[in-house]
Amino acid sequence: MEVLVKGAGVAGLAAAHELAARGLRVTVADPWRGGGRAAASWYAGGMLAPYCERESAEQPVVELGLRAADWWEAALPGCVLRNGTLVLAPVRDAKELDRFASRTTGFERVGEESIATLEPDLGARFRKGLFFATEAHLDPRHVLVSLAAKLAASGVSFETDLSQYDSTRFDWIIECIGRSTPDKAIRGVRGEMLLLRTSDVSLSRPVRLIHPRFPVYIVPRGDHTFMVGATMIESDATGPITARSMMELLNAAYGLHPAFGEAEIIETGTGVRPAYPDNLPRVVREGRTIAINGLYRHGFLLAPAMAQQAADMILDERNRTP
C-alpha cells in the first residue's frame, strides 16, 4: 500500500514514521525536507510537558501527550531528555504559582534549597516553585532533521519538487500542511521566539516563568544556547518579531538570571501555530485523505498520538477489506 504524506513538519514526519514502522510504503512531499523555516515546527520549544500545559489546555492534551516522550525516544533513541520542568514565580507573583498549582497535577512543590539542587545557577534567586519531574524535552530542529534522515535511510522517499509527483498513484494521502490548509476552521496563533547564547548560565531542563500575559519559558538546547519563547498572538502574520515581544522575552530571561543580559542574541523567529476553535488537534478523514491538523501549542507533544490515530484508520480499513 502506497501512502503520500503532504507536509514535513512535525505532524507529517511523525505520521510518516508511524506508517513506515507499520510496513507501509511512504512518500513525503514538502518543498522543505525537514520542514524548514516555513514550518511552525522549526520554531518550537520542544517541551513535552503534558502536565504544565493543563494550566491552560483541556484534559485531552494531558491524556494524548503522556506517552509522547516514549514515542520520540523509540523513534530516535537518545533524543529525549527526561529532566522534568521547573515552574518558577518571582516572590511578588507567588499567588500566581498557587493558581498554576491548582490547575495542574504531576508536580511537587519545591523551595529554595531544592531549586538550587535542581538548577544550581538559580539557587537563592527563587524561593518557590513547582517541579514536574516526569516531563521531558527535545531539540525540535535536531529531531526534524534526524527523523527525516532516518526515514530517507530506511526507504521513505522525499519529494521537494511538488510538481514532480502524481498524487493519483497513492492509495492514501495524509495531509499535514499546518497553516496552508484550505480548512476554514483553522486559524493561526503567532508565536515569537529567540535563541540566546551564553556560557555564564547553565540549565538542565525547561524553566517556565509565571507571566501575567503569556507563559514564558527558557529551554536549554546544549552548546550554551537557550530558546526563549513564546508569545501567543491571535494572528497569522509571519513577519519578524516586534520590539515589544522581544523586550518581554528578554525581560523574562533577565529576570530568571541577570547573566542573560550579557548573552548574544543569535536568532529571532516567528512561527504560526495552526489551531481549531477548541485548541485541540483533529484527525479528519474524507474518502482516502486523512488530515492531521490543529496541533496548536502541542506539535511535538501530540503529533505521536495523532500519527497513531491516522495509522490505525488506514490499517483498520485494510484489515476489514478481505
Binding site: 491552560s56 489546555a57 483541556e58 493558581r99 491548582s102 490547575r103 486559524r187 493561526g188 503567532r190 501575567p212 500575559r213 498572538i233 491571535e234 494572528s235 497569522d236 502574520a237 513577519g239 516586534t242 515589544r244 489551531a275 476553535p277 477548541d278 485548541n279 485541540l280
Partner: protein, 257 residues
C-alpha cells in the same frame, strides 16, 4: 435599559476576549454571560495578518457589539493610531481608550488619556475612556467629549474588588447622568454586586472570567451578580445598624426604639 452613545442595551456586563483557554470556551462564556458588548484588543501584528481570518472572523460573526480597545498603548499618539486601525478593522466608531502609564500596575496615564480622548472625539469617535476614580480627571474627560466613563475599582487584573468605595461614591454622586462602567479590578461576583449597588451602570470583566477554573460558569455568576446589584440599587436597601434589632417586639417588654 442601559444607554451608551444612543445604543440601548439590556445586559449590564461587558466581556473582554483575551486569555481564554480557547475561542470555543470564549464563545460559550459570551453566551452564558448574556453580554451584548465584547471588547477586543488590537495590536499591530494582529492587523498584519490575513484579514477575514481566524480569531477576528469568529468575533465578527457574533451577534454582539464589538468595542475595540487600545490596550498596551503608552502614548496618546499610539492610542490614536490604534483607534484608527480598529475603526477600519471592525467598522465601528466605538473605542475603549486605554493609555497605560505604568507597565507594572497598568495604571492609566490620565494626562495622555485626556489628550487622546480629545483628538478621538474630534475625529468623531465614541470614546469609552479607561480611567482612575479621580473626579477631576473625569471632569476633563467629559469636557474632551466623552459621554461614558470607565473608572477602575482596582488595578487591571488585580482581582482586588473596590478598594476605595468613598472615591467611587463621590464619582457617582458628582456625575449622576453619565453612564459609568466599572472597568478593571473585579475579582469575584460579590465585587460586581457591590459596585452595582453603588449605582454604576455596568461592569467590564476579562481576567476574572477568562482565568477562572470554569470560565463559562463564572461568566454566568457575574451576570447574575451584576443584575442583583443593579436591582438592589433601585430597590432601596436597608442601611446597616449597629445592633441586631428584632423585627417584631419582644413579648413582655416595652419597646422604645
Amino acid at each position: 435599559m442601559l444607554t451608551l452613545y444612543n445604543k440601548q442595551l439590556s445586559s449590564r456586563l461587558l466581556l473582554g476576549t483575551a486569555q481564554y483557554p480557547s475561542p470555543s470556551i470564549l464563545l460559550d462564556a459570551i453566551k452564558a454571560s448574556g453580554t451584548q458588548i465584547v471588547t477586543v484588543s488590537l495590536r499591530r501584528e494582529t492587523a498584519g495578518g490575513r484579514s477575514g481570518d481566524g480569531f477576528w472572523s469568529i468575533i465578527r460573526s457574533l451577534d454582539v457589539h464589538v468595542l475595540p480597545n487600545t490596550a498596551g498603548c503608552h502614548t496618546a499618539k499610539e492610542a490614536v493610531l490604534t483607534a484608527q486601525m480598529a475603526r477600519d478593522l471592525f467598522a465601528t466608531d466605538w473605542i475603549k481608550l486605554e493609555v497605560i502609564g505604568n507597565h507594572d500596575t497598568l495604571q492609566p496615564d490620565v494626562f495622555a488619556l485626556v489628550e487622546a480622548a480629545r483628538v478621538l472625539s474630534d475625529e468623531g469617535f465614541k470614546v469609552f475612556p479607561y480611567t482612575t476614580d479621580d473626579l477631576i480627571v473625569a471632569e476633563r474627560l467629559l469636557d474632551a467629549g466623552c459621554e461614558v466613563l470607565m473608572p477602575w475599582c482596582a488595578p487591571i487584573g488585580s482581582a482586588q474588588g473596590p478598594l476605595n468605595t468613598h472615591a467611587l461614591r463621590s464619582l457617582r454622586g458628582h456625575f449622576p447622568d453619565v453612564p459609568m462602567i466599572i472597568d478593571a479590578g473585579l475579582g469575584r461576583p460579590s465585587h460586581a454586586a457591590t459596585v452595582m449597588e453603588l449605582g454604576f451602570e455596568a461592569i467590564l470583566l476579562n481576567t476574572a472570567v477568562a482565568k477562572a477554573g470554569d470560565p463559562v460558569a463564572m461568566a454566568r455568576a457575574f451576570a447574575m451578580a451584576s443584575e442583583a446589584g443593579h436591582a438592589a440599587c433601585h430597590a432601596g436597601m436597608l442601611e446597616p445598624r449597629d445592633v441586631a434589632v428584632p423585627s417584631t417586639p419582644v413579648i413582655g417588654r416595652a419597646v422604645f426604639t
